[in-house]
Every structure is written in structure tokens, then in C-alpha cells.
Amino acid sequence: MFRNTYDSDNTVFSPQGRLHQVEYALEAVKQGSAAVGLRSKTHAILLALKRSTGELASYQQKMFRIDDHVGIAIAGLTSDARVLSNFMRQQAMGERMIFNRPMPVNRLVSSIADKAQVNTQEYGRRPYGVGFLVIGQDQTGPHLFEFSPSGNSYEYYAMSIGARSQSAKTYLEKHYESFADCNLEDLIRHGLHALRETLQQDKELNVNNTSVGIIGPMGQHEKPISPPGSFRILEGDKVEVYLQSMEKKEEAPAPVPAPASVPDAAPAPGSDEDVQMSG
């Protein structure tokens, strides 16, 4: 079931100069439920939409603590994410042991980006099928990074990944200039508004499907954190107060949105010009 001739080996360029397996890996990220990240002058936060496979199942964990000063939200293959997050934990622990300092966040993200890049070049490997939003605080303040299976990592004021993340991105692009001076409560409200955009119709954010990850000083609804300002994940009843703070979504008489199964920005079928294999 090849899409075209240059699919089977990710170390081979297509005549258009593309690595198809890498692009498919980016599609795997878009299959995962959405995660949103924002940054102010004092805080960096993550918000994620958790999925469950059914009424009887628990919700899949979307956020992981790496170290006191770093946390991630994932979209894509959870098993790949665990491999990478374990690696990040080791790197962060090593930095604390050898230099007695929190690992610079950009270096932590670069270290997994370098691992991902190897998978796009060496024979017999496959790219990771997971994307991260990484928040962290180090000597240069709070940060938000995106990591993707192509081996790229970028720093952002605000970013979203996962299914229908384009809708959240649109919200973030409209409001990001106000984020820098937001307090924690306003930042979370913006994050929830952005995350809400990624929901399917007739679905809502609730205490079961919403995770909030925070780095930065304690907010007014929080209990003291030890050590102060370290990464914490809010779930269940603790997110209730923030969900309550959301403004009601105005019901735009918008045209029916695209069906859920079509990922954002996926290339239209047949849009690339590689030779199609018969069958």
C-alpha cells in the first residue's frame, strides 16, 4: 500500500527533494489530540486535551514532568514520547549532578532534536511519531519550545500541536501580543480558549479531559509548590476554577467544519507529483 515510489526508505529523497517518511511522521503528530503552550514574562504553561478510548477507559496521559524546571505535553505516539521523555529526564539529571544547575531548556530540546534528526538520515530507522511542546524555566527565564519528528525545534511565544491545532493557532495568533504581561489566571484562560477551538462540535472542555501544566510563581488559586515555581500538572477538580473562568463561546453561524478525520493542512490527495505506483 505504497503512496508512491519514495516511501519505503526514509533515507531516500524524492525527486522533489522531500523525505516522505518524515512527512508521514509529522502526520502522526496531527493524529494526536491537541496541546497548546503559551508564555508570559513570568510563566510558561501547557494545556492539553486528553482522550479516552471509551466509557470504561481512563484518559490517556498527555503531560509529563521532566525535571523541577521542565515539563512537556505530547501529541502522537505515547510510546515514542516515553522513550524521549526518559532521555530528557536523564539529560536533566546529568546536568544537575555534574553542574548543579537546571539544564538550559534550549539545550534539552536540541538534544532530542538531534536524536530525531539521526532517525531521518540513518538506514533502517524510523522517525519518532510524536511531537512535544516543552516548557521550562532556566537562568534566562521561562521558555516554550516545539519539538517535531523532523528534528526541528523552535522557540515560541505561543504554539499548538495535534489534531485541529490550526484552530488554536488562529486564536493564539490573534491574541499573542497580550500574553507577555498576562498574569497566570489570564494566561490559562487564553490557553483554554485556544484549546477549546480544537474540540469537535458538541464536545466541551471538562475536568476529565483537560490538563494544565504550569511553570512559574504560584497563582492565586494554587497551594504553595515545592520547590517554588516548579513544574506542576493540574488535573481533575483543580482545573475546575479555571474552566469556570472561561468566557462563553459565541456561536458563530459558521459553515459546517471539516470532518474530524481529515487532519489540518494535510496535502490534498494527489497533490504531490511523485510517480504513483499502480495498485
Binding site: 555534574i98 553542574f99 538550559p104 534550549n106 532556566d138
Partner: protein, 266 residues
């Protein structure tokens, strides 16, 4: 730990060679013999050694002092050795003990600094990071039974904070507002404590310099492995500066009146 680096890490034995008069390669060994010890031999003693390093905290930061002598046993072999070394923009590391091991440490730290600078991401190694790194390095080497035969003082100033700490060939670390290695730990440390403790935020740069000079003078009088030629490093918000070598006024007229050894006839 006594002031002869040769004896560091050994059981004390005052019965012979209490003054380290033996040529280095003939140091007596009366411990148990290991039949297989010839198979692998690691560093058993330092060869070319530096003596004390002194350091104190003062109002604006940290000040350190060390002389320029590297001895070969009791021979004053090299007289222009710099034992205070700048690492990065915020730290000075001062070394007593084996000078070749210290040169190796300088090389390692240079590599580390280059890696840190080439990241170009606004992060810099400060004295805290360098001290942690050195303590891990020294402990790892002693655990391989192959220590770097030094005692190090690491002083620095970064983000408005002074830092001063010690690490030695065993990986032992401690911090205080005054520190001294080698013979200085016996002779100078009490003087430094008396002058500095409780007054760290009061002492001016001039005063700190005088405290160190006075201690260096006492060490020159008392420590047979020292020399009247030394450098002072200051680390403050203005950065690191290591002075040129300097000398102190000393008076030796009292020596005529000392009786008990030497060539006196009465």
C-alpha cells in the same frame, strides 16, 4: 592533611622523613606489599608541587592569593608558575599539589568553557557550576584509584553572589568565608578567620588585600616550600582580575639570634 603534598593520602608516619628530606624517587615505603601492584601503577605521589592557596570573601566579592613557586621535592624548581587560573568570566581556580595535574585540569576546563561558549545561548558557567564539576571530576578520579593530586580553591562572583569553596584529591568539598590549602590551612587559616569572619560584608578591597598580604608574609617566613613572589586574584561585579607577580617587604635580622640548628658555633 599536612603541608607536604607528598604525604597527602598517606598514613602519617613521623618515625622517618618528617621533613621530607628524601629525594622524591627514594621515598621510603613500609606498608604492606601487593604482589600484583606492579601490573598497573597509578599516581602514587605528586612530583612538582605548589604549596598554599589562600582565599577570603570581602565586601565586593572574593580575593585569592598563591605564590609562583613549583617545587621538586624540597628544591625550588620553577619560580614563575601561575597557580591562579581564570575559568570563564566569573571564576578563578587556585591549585596546590601536583602542577602537572593542575595543568591537566586547566586543559579540561578550557575544553568545557569552549563548549559552553560555542552553544551561544546566553548560558554561562559560573563558580557554582565549575565547583560542582570539579568535585565530580576529583571524586571520579579518586574512585578509579587514580586521583588528580591537588587541593583546589574555587572562588567567583556571579549574579550578585559571592562563591568560595574547596575541593581536593579525594573529592571532599566544603565552603567557608575564608579558605586555605596546604600549609596555609595550618598557618594562615586562623589569621584569616580572625580578620574576616563576621566582617565579610564590611571588608574593603584594600583591607582584603592587606589581610592576604600579611598572611602570605607569615607563610613565607614559616613555609619552607613557599616563595616571596605571588599573585592576587580579585573576583567581583567588575569581573576577574589576576595581578602581576609581587613581592613583600620582609626582615630577617632576627635570624641571627636563633639558636639550635644551622652552623652556629655557640
Amino acid at each position: 592533611m599536612d603541608h607536604f603534598p607528598t604525604n597527602w593520602g598517606r598514613p602519617r608516619n613521623d618515625a622517618f622523613d618528617a621533613y621530607a628530606t628524601y629525594p622524591i624517587h627514594q621515598r621510603p615505603y613500609n606498608g604492606p606489599k601487593d604482589t600484583f601492584a606492579d601490573g598497573v601503577q597509578r599516581t602514587q605521589q605528586p612530583i612538582v608541587t605548589g604549596t598554599s592557596v589562600l582565599a577570603i570573601k570581602y565586601k565586593d566579592g572574593v580575593m585569592m592569593a598563591a605564590d609562583n613557586l613549583a617545587s621538586y621535592g624540597s628544591l625550588a624548581r620553577f619560580k614563575d608558575v601561575q597557580r591562579l587560573h581564570q575559568v570563564g568570566n566569573y571564576t578563578v581556580i587556585g591549585a596546590g599539589g601536583d602542577m602537572s595535574d593542575f595543568q591537566y585540569i586547566q586543559y579540561i576546563l578550557e575544553e568545557l568553557s569552549i563548549d559552553e561558549i560555542s552553544a551561544q545561548d546566553g548560558h554561562e558557567l559560573g563558580p557554582i557550576e565549575i565547583h560542582e564539576y570539579m568535585s565530580q571530576l576529583m571524586y571520579a578520579r579518586r574512585s578509579k584509584m587514580n586521583p588528580l593530586w591537588n587541593s583546589l580553591l574555587i572562588g567567583g562572583f556571579k549574579d550578585g553572589k559571592r562563591f568560595l569553596s574547596y575541593v581536593d584529591l579525594l573529592g571532599t568539598t566544603y565552603s567557608a568565608s575564608t579558605l586555605a590549602t596546604g600549609y596555609g590551612a595550618f598557618i594562615a587559616q586562623p589569621l584569616l578567620r580572625k580578620a574576616v569572619e563576621g566582617r565579610e560584608d564590611v571588608i574593603t578591597e584594600e583591607e582584603a588585600r592587606k589581610i592576604l598580604e600579611d598572611s602570605m608574609r607569615v607563610l613565607f617566613y614559616r613555609d619552607a616550600r613557599s616563595m616571596n613572589k605571588f599573585q592576587i586574584a580579585t573576583i567581583s561585579s567588575a569581573g576577574v582580575s589576576i595581578s602581576d607577580s609581587m613581592q613583600l617587604e620582609t626582615a630577617w635580622s632576627f635570624a641571627e639570634n636563633i639558636r639550635g640548628y644551622g652552623a652556629q658555633t655557640q
